[in-house]
């Protein structure tokens, strides 16, 4: 193993090598996150990560910060508790399409509705990778998975728009092909004092690729690139021409009162109390 790169200090080196498959987009996204964190001038020491279950949710386990690897779909509810208990923490959630759009769909829209200050990076590979290639709520219509041997007949979720509609103050979608835009979106999400959702459409050559005649990472990357349509261009296209396309850009970027600030404001204005932090360690309160 090499001595690493400039991001190695942020990693739990004693956990390497990682479990991700060759050609997986997770490494690209981790590196994009760390670049964005530096650009946003965040203090890494103050970051806590929360994740659910799935390949994407293993990312926090490789980062040298406090990390909570929770139950399937529930990362956002744990993150809501963590952020509310200590609003000084910068809480980042790594999740996937199965984790946050299927089993955790309810928590996703409610966290967005509350506009709680979390930065959610949803790694959307259109498939369940960890369990071996079943279709997910974002699998394109007609794509194949082990549970859709004759082609997926279900309509996929448009996650970035769903979350924007639910009330998130920042929502964007990019792919692992537009690295610079992705980095800027994560940076904007980290700086946004509210619920930020960054959907990253990524390649899973091992399962999605194998089932859909895109076996190599390159084939998947080329397909991602060819299917990408920028939001402005998409607004001029007909709905049927957009089928199967990945529309990238910002879907929400606005300001609203934030959830934990609202809680503290009520305590302060009505009762002159600040929200306590680390109170479990006190004998007398």
């Amino acid at each position: 193993m090499s001595d690493g790169n400039k991001f190695t200090p942020y990693m739990r080196k004693d956990r390497l090598p990682h479990i991700f498959c060759p050609g997986c987009g997770n490494g690209t996204i981790m590196s994009a996150f760390l670049k964005a964190m530096e650009k946003a001038e965040m203090d890494f020491e103050n970051i806590a990560m929360v994740s659910g279950i799935g390949c994407s949710s293993r990312i926090p386990g490789y980062m040298d910060c406090d990390s909570l690897h929770t139950t399937h779909g529930r990362a956002l509810s744990f993150a809501t508790g963590l952020k509310t208990a200590n609003k000084d923490l910068d809480v980042v959630v790594f999740t996937g399409d199965g984790d946050c759009a299927s089993i955790g769909g309810n928590h996703l829209i409610h966290a967005a509705r509350r506009n709680i200050n979390l930065t959610v990076i949803c790694i959307n590979n259109n498939i369940y990778g960890m369990t071996g290639g079943q279709i997910s709520p974002t699998s394109p219509k007609g794509s194949y998975g082990t549970t859709a041997p004759y082609g997926n007949q279900d309509n996929p979720f448009n996650l970035a728009e769903l979350v924007a509609a639910a009330g998130a103050t920042y929502s964007a979608r990019w792919t692992t092909i537009q690295i610079e835009s992705l980095v800027m979106a994560i940076k904007d999400g980290l700086k946004n004092p509210g619920f930020s959702f960054i959907e990253v459409v990524t390649q899973c050559p091992t399962y999605y690729g194998r089932k859909n005649k895109l076996r190599t990472p390159t084939a998947m990357a080329v397909t991602l690139k060819m299917n990408t349509v920028f939001k402005d261009a998409a607004s001029r296209m007909r709905q049927k021409d957009l089928e199967g396309k990945i529309v990238v850009g910002e879907f929400a970027n606005t300001q609203k009162a934030e959830f934990t600030e609202n809680i503290e404001r009520i305590s302060e204005e009505k009762f002159g109390k600040k929200t306590l932090i680390n109170s479990a360690y006190e004998e007398e309160l």
Partner: protein, 376 residues
Amino acid sequence: MSEELFIQGNEACAKGAIRAGCRFFAGYPITPSTEVAETLARELPKVGGSFVQMEDEIASAGAIIGGSWGGTKSMTATSGPGLSLMQENIGYAFITETPIVVVDVQRGSPSTGQPTMAAQGDMMQARWGSHGDYEPIALSPSSVQEFFDFTVKAFNLAEEYRVPVFVMADEVVGHMREKIVIDDDIEIVPRKMPESKEDFLPFKNIENGTNPMPSFGQGFNIHVTGLTHDERGYPDTNNPDTHDALVQRLCDKVLNNTDKICSVKSKYCDDADTIIISYGAPVRSVIEAARKARAEGNKVGYIKLDTPWPFPEKQVLDLAADASNIVVVEMNLGQMYYEVNRVLRRDANVHLVGKIGGLMPTPDEILSKINKLGGK
């Protein structure tokens, strides 16, 4: 100066939580527990705490685990249907050794059942509801005073052993109003921060089983996972020894301390031929039944289980050593009955007064069962 209040059980629970240091509550409305949430929604902002109404009970359990790792004593309150939804995350709290308090104000069940009627149908759910091996602690209050006291105790035990603790109340205790006395000098167990970050192993297989617990943001940079993990907290799922050492330690830290955790109250047991065993609201009828039986000259005693889980096996065996008949009184068709029967069947005949439908078993119903056994 102690404080005297005339309040509802659910309100007493909320007050006990605040007294114990609870500063985060996440919950979802459900009858007959809702007043716990309503009281805390009103009271927590006054003391620098936070209240969140979550989107469901799954999220409520997740949120309080997150809140606990955020450094705040955290609680939820629910009833049977909600407890069912929380079970996966309660298992997560066990394997990650997260102190939380889960209050269950039990109602008629299964399913939606009888939302406004009392029952004790969740006792086995508290014991076995999540998947896998673990040793829960559960306290059952029989009065409004005990709902306050046991909620405080639940927080203390949760911190002492880093486990989820259940307060298994019922609709009767939740909704009745009684006078309670709140003392000034209540013992509160604070969380222990690890002393050093150097070579700190958050899940070390230490002798007494319970490690100090850092909170997030203190520089310990720990990894907390529901996967089987080594002493560093790192996933190690294919090594049988790692799993065995972890799960055994999680169980042992409770089982090796049952002397300190388990609690019973008893009366008239010394010479009793028949002993009634009960917990929660039905104890109120049991006390009256035993008093009446004694007045009639019958050798009847009772044991009240303050802690149904872990089952106070040693105390019950000692107290019931000479009894020939045991009558378990509970508001279900026999749940703790199985546990009592397991422990006492070699030395006594174990009988059940199991009442469902939402009403308490009356003293006369209990006496009539005892009379049928021979009245002694």
